[in-house]
């Protein structure tokens, strides 16, 4: 009797464990953790977005800080051992000294070492837009400049500007997903659900959009944005342009999925229960496409980041004084600048790292969520 009870308990426990292990989320998580690269990429992205949120804290200099005497300064050398051969406890930098006025070649002024200080006071800002403070992660006393990644043609700190620029570069992808996905889902759902004439009209428009070389269309649309827009409004307009061009692909695939889902019995049941069409589409049909949508969203973000960088690179995206990685990279466009001041290529590296992280994460997420598309 007691034995039976124990056996029943054990069986019950096993059943529970099995049920817990088999929830789709748990399965997906287990799959995802098998892909170490995807996890590392996820961590890189979390770090990038974290740094972006607290950009002012990490940036040694303000967005509009310029030192006109130090344009095209190379990355500053961080030392522990000074010119006299003494070791220092704190890492330090030297002030810049202009060696060749014509070729803009700088050398270190080794007469005095300037300690790199942590949690220093600098320009004032508000953490997350409210708590006012002036504490920054690192800094050095003037006249030394902590240009860790060098400076640009106006003597602005490249690292600080990359940190501020990450706001636009990283957010535009998310912003565009937030606009296109609801549109693509609803239009694709409606087209697939109703079929016939609605479907025809929507899908023909998608075809027209898909017939353009995407970037030509982006270029044309971005060029008609008025030059008088504020930088915030401009960002939203650019996001709108990307959304206008980008909703079609998603809508077409959702339509295809909905075409098959709408024949399933649970849809019939929902309709028999007397639910309205929109409710059936949004509450019953579209949730079945979730795993596909998550994958598509992850993989669409790098494309948008690429597009924004490209537009800004050509001068049609974000405008000075605000900045993005593409706009920063645009400074390196001329052969002379590029070859003599190669640190200006670093924003491009940031773009590559973020896009790579998104691609690897997206690939891992696809394998985890959607076994049919698994890429061995």
């Amino acid at each position: 009797m007691a034995h039976d009870l124990v056996a029943a308990r054990v069986a019950e426990q096993r059943r529970r464990e099995a049920a817990r292990a088999r929830t789709p989320l748990a399965l997906a998580w287990r799959q995802l953790t098998r892909y170490k690269l995807a996890l590392v990429s996820g961590a890189v992205l979390v770090a990038a977005y974290g740094i972006m949120v607290f950009a002012e804290f990490f940036a040694p200099y303000a967005l509009d800080f310029t030192d006109r005497s130090l344009f095209y300064a190379p990355p500053v050398g961080v030392h522990l051992r000074d010119a006299q051969g003494r070791w220092h406890l704190r890492p330090f930098v030297y002030a810049y000294r202009l060696v060749d006025r014509d070729l803009r070649i700088y050398g270190p002024d080794t007469s005095r070492a300037y300690d790199i200080r942590f949690f220093v006071r600098g320009f004032r800002y508000r953490v997350l837009g409210f708590a006012p403070t002036d504490i920054h992660l690192v800094g050095a006393d003037p006249p030394a400049r902590l240009f860790l990644l060098g400076s640009d043609q106006f003597g602005r700190d490249l690292l600080s500007r990359m940190l501020f620029g990450s706001r636009i570069s990283l957010l535009i992808g998310v912003l565009v997903v937030l606009i296109t996905f609801p549109i693509g889902l609803v239009l694709g759902g409606v087209a697939g659900y109703y079929g016939k004439i609605v479907d025809n009209i929507l899908m023909r428009s998608v075809e027209v959009l898909a017939s353009f070389p995407t970037f030509y269309l982006l270029l044309t649309l971005a060029s008609v944005l008025p030059a008088t827009l504020s930088s915030g409004a401009r960002l939203f307009m650019i996001a709108a342009v990307f959304s206008l061009v980008g909703w079609g692909g998603l809508a077409r695939i959702i339509r295809g999925l909905v075409l098959s889902i709408r024949e399933l019995e649970f849809v019939l049941a929902a309709r028999a229960a007397g639910l309205g069409d929109l409710r059936v589409i949004v509450r019953h049909i579209l949730p079945s496409t979730t795993s596909y949508v998550i994958v598509a969203a992850t993989l669409s973000i790098p494309g948008t980041i690429l597009g924004e960088s490209g537009l800004s690179f050509l001068g049609l995206g974000v405008q000075e004084p605000s900045t993005s990685w593409g706009l920063l990279l645009a400074q390196a466009q001329s052969v002379d600048v590029l070859t003599h001041f190669p640190w200006l290529l670093l924003p491009g590296l940031a773009i590559v790292v973020v896009i790579l992280a998104y691609n690897l994460l997206g690939d891992g997420v696809r394998d985890a969520l959607d076994p049919r598309q698994r890429s061995s």
């Binding site: 690179f313 466009q333 052969v335 070859t339 590559v352």
Partner: protein, 324 residues
């Protein structure tokens, strides 16, 4: 098959009308950003309003937008793309050679990418889970993550310091006096840098696609049969597996072309290559409306024809595919 092609070509008409309408609407959307003539007045205030009005009338820009559109559409039917505001020459003169250059660049990139990606994909699939496979996979991911403008900048940097390749343009200064074979060599020489810059992206995607296709095919029963017959492994892979794995790649052809046309716009701008992408950027900045419309239209036609070619190729390559 012929009926299918005919139907696609007939559908091309409405599609083109849709495309021209979208491009026209895109340009007309501009709220107060001014057109070419307004910026002309800003640049040269001494031009009299009468001259501007006459210029407007000459280009038909004094009409309401929808009349302008219909007029433009009507002239397009007669293969007349209108005049460029900035250069005062027919748009066809400007676009023709530029489109050919872009097509040349896209095709060389595509050929180079396929020639490199397919062997790499085969190697990677056959040696699945080996170190080389892992390295190739990671490299492929890096390749698809490098924007073409960045790869062009990096190549420009490398070419400047190594002095191996010309940095800008499609031809040397001496191009006009070269014999015909010298001209071909000269263009080929100038094409190397942009081809690599543009092709890197495609190689990554194609390689992964080829690898995955081949891995699917390698599990198929008919390969067991082939091995059971006693064929050499080399023959099994090359004659039986690869042939079947390559078919689906043909569908990528059209998709690739779209990506290449867009990517080429950057490479052309960074490397000073005289192509359609650079033309459209210049025209867009100058608000040279007819040139923008013409480039958009031509780019789209290239893309549509590329897609059609891909569909036909697929049917030719794979007898299982039938377009009723």
């Amino acid at each position: 098959m012929i009926r299918y092609i005919a139907r696609r070509l007939i559908l091309l008409g409405p599609l083109l009308v849709g495309i021209t309408f979208v491009s026209w609407a895109a340009i007309q959307l501009a709220p107060g950003s001014g057109d070419y003539f307004q910026s002309l007045v800003l640049q040269y205030p001494q031009i009299s309003p009468q001259t501007i009005a006459a210029l407007r009338a000459r280009f038909g820009m004094d009409q309401p937008p929808w009349i302008q559109y219909l007029r433009w559409l009507w002239s397009i039917v007669h293969l007349d793309f209108g005049l460029s505001f900035a250069y005062q020459v027919p748009v066809t003169w400007l676009i023709g050679s530029r489109a050919l250059n872009t097509l040349l660049l896209s095709i060389t990139s595509m050929v180079a990418a396929w020639a490199l990606a397919i062997p790499l994909g085969i190697y990677s699939a056959v040696h699945q889970y080996s170190v080389a496979d892992g390295a190739l996979n990671v490299s492929a991911f890096v390749a698809i993550s490098v924007p073409s403008f960045f790869s062009a900048l990096l190549l420009l940097y490398a070419a400047f310091w190594t002095h191996l390749l010309p940095l800008q343009g499609l031809t040397s200064v001496t191009y006009d006096v070269l014999p015909w074979w010298g001209k071909v060599l000269d263009v080929g020489w100038h094409l190397i840098l942009p081809t690599i810059a543009l092709g890197v992206f495609s190689v990554g995607g194609l390689m992964r696609y080829m690898r995955n296709n081949l891995l699917d095919v390698l599990r198929a029963d008919y390969l067991k049969t082939a091995r059971a017959k006693g064929l050499t492994e080399r023959r099994v892979i090359l004659r039986h597996a690869v042939r079947n794995a390559i078919n689906p790649l043909v569908t990528l052809f059209g998709f690739e072309l779209g990506g290449l046309l867009s990517g080429a716009a950057f490479v052309e701008n960074v490397l000073g290559y005289p192509g359609l992408g650079r033309l459209i950027l210049e025209a867009v900045l100058k608000k040279d409306v007819f040139v923008v419309m013409g480039s958009l239209l031509l780019g789209s036609v290239l893309l549509i024809l590329g897609n059609l070619a891909a569909d036909i190729l697929l049917a030719v390559a794979d007898p299982r595919i039938r377009y009723d």
